[in-house]
Subunit: 262 residues, 2 copies
């Protein structure tokens, strides 16, 4: 955790006056991803699990499907650049990248998922179910797990779970990055993702639903709110979308048949 | 506000059982910006003040400096596409765009501000000061103003203020978009931004500090946390960065000389 936070001397002003105090802030680190000698993107992220992040990002962008395609992955000594080499269809990857760069752009909340990506994605057919009691328990444990958040209030977290336990946990200043770290780790460590669910600390936007759908994950859970487009997409793709899990209450926006009584 | 939210019938599960209830979610709307007949970007945003958003985005990207450059701005009937035509240096804009597309990429937390943008930005020299009591009062009023947040918990907000009052207020599902809407409105309506401050509901990352610095705004305030890189940049650029304004307490990370006693 040390690399992900930083102590600072700051000025705190209260009704009692002005005091210099030590405060901890979350680190923001630029990671540049180079795919087959081509500079792809610079992500602002938390400096941990950077290989997972790089592979998860490439997978979310459709540039990597499975571990067998990865010929080499190497991080520079200062961890600011990750180089990934893939076997096979390099031309296709370049073409995909080019298309995405044209349709996306300046960063921040920009979509890189045009509408035709949605149309070509089939429904998630999993028969996975989960009990309401387990949803409450998982979210409670999830919130306990975020050490960096407790100290800095500056990160998002994400977890991969089965219908009983949290299996993997990741944190990052970006809610997309936290989820990409989960999936990158699954690829690099051959962890199966069938009949798994994802918990996110962040709002559920359409991009998050597409990221989940791309892995055929049938259930996504958040204590925060979804957008209308996320709900529409989840319905269209057969995904169970659960939001506002707070205490012993939850909103099931789509796919309620997967949530069963205790 | 009607267009920015949407009512849905959802399933609420509590210890008392399962009930169908009506719930309101925030809308997520794709806005495509076309600059001089060239498709630039699609932003996922809240469908309000879309002209402000388009101009603010272009200004944040350095593609527009002032109103005089804007030859024409038009929104399609369904509001999904905004076309902007500028006078003058079209070649320069295209070149800038191309460079940014190469260095940025897949969206979500991706930076479009390479390091050399920072080096070329001079310090913000404003002598503006604000009293601690006004900071507390502005943030309290700011939180009261966000109607959509109260209903959906799904949006960010931003405000432009002088050392006494909130002058402009904007909301959007993206924290960057909310700030861009403020500055876009200032350009289109010739509203001066000298000796003004910005309040944001979101975390203060380096990109937010750069967005503020680009307008020579000397003070940025949030009730949320900053990142280490945002603090470093604010110090380097002479900006007062105030975070964690909660009740009658605030953290002043940089530029404390601008915050005076009551």
């Amino acid at each position: 955790m040390m690399d992900e936070i930083k102590g600072l001397n700051i000025l705190r002003i209260t009704e009692e006056g002005r005091h210099e105090v030590e405060e901890v802030v979350v680190r923001e680190f630029p990671l540049t991803i180079i795919l087959n000698n081509q500079e792809l993107v610079t992500l602002l992220c938390s400096p941990k699990d950077l290989n997972y992040l790089a592979i998860g990002f490439l997978s979310s962008e459709g540039l990597i499907q499975h571990k067998g395609e990865i010929g080499k992955i190497s991080l520079t000594d200062d961890e600011s650049v990750v180089q990934v080499e893939t076997e096979g269809a390099k031309g296709a990857a370049t073409e995909l990248l080019f298309r995405r760069l044209i349709t996306s752009g300046g960063g921040r909340g920009v979509t890189s998922y045009p509408a035709y990506d949605v149309a070509s994605k089939g429904r998630v057919e999993s028969e996975m179910r989960i009990s309401a009691g387990v949803v409450f328990a998982l979210v409670e444990e999830f919130q306990q797990r975020s050490q960096i958040y407790k100290v800095t209030h500056g990160v998002h977290s994400a977890a991969l779970c089965d219908a009983k336990d949290i299996l993997l946990f990741a944190e990052d200043i970006g809610r997309h990055n936290a989820i990409d770290k989960l999936f990158g780790r699954c690829i690099l460590e051959d962890i199966p993702i069938g009949d798994r669910l994802v918990i996110s600390s962040g709002r559920i936007s359409s991009e998050i639903v597409l990221k989940i759908a791309r892995r055929d994950i049938p259930i996504v859970i958040s204590k925060a709110a979804p957008t209308d487009r996320a709900v529409d997409l989840a319905a269209h793709l057969g995904i169970t979308l659960i939001g506002f899990v707070r205490g012993r209450s939850m909103n099931v926006y789509t796919g309620g048949w997967r949530v069963i009584g205790d």
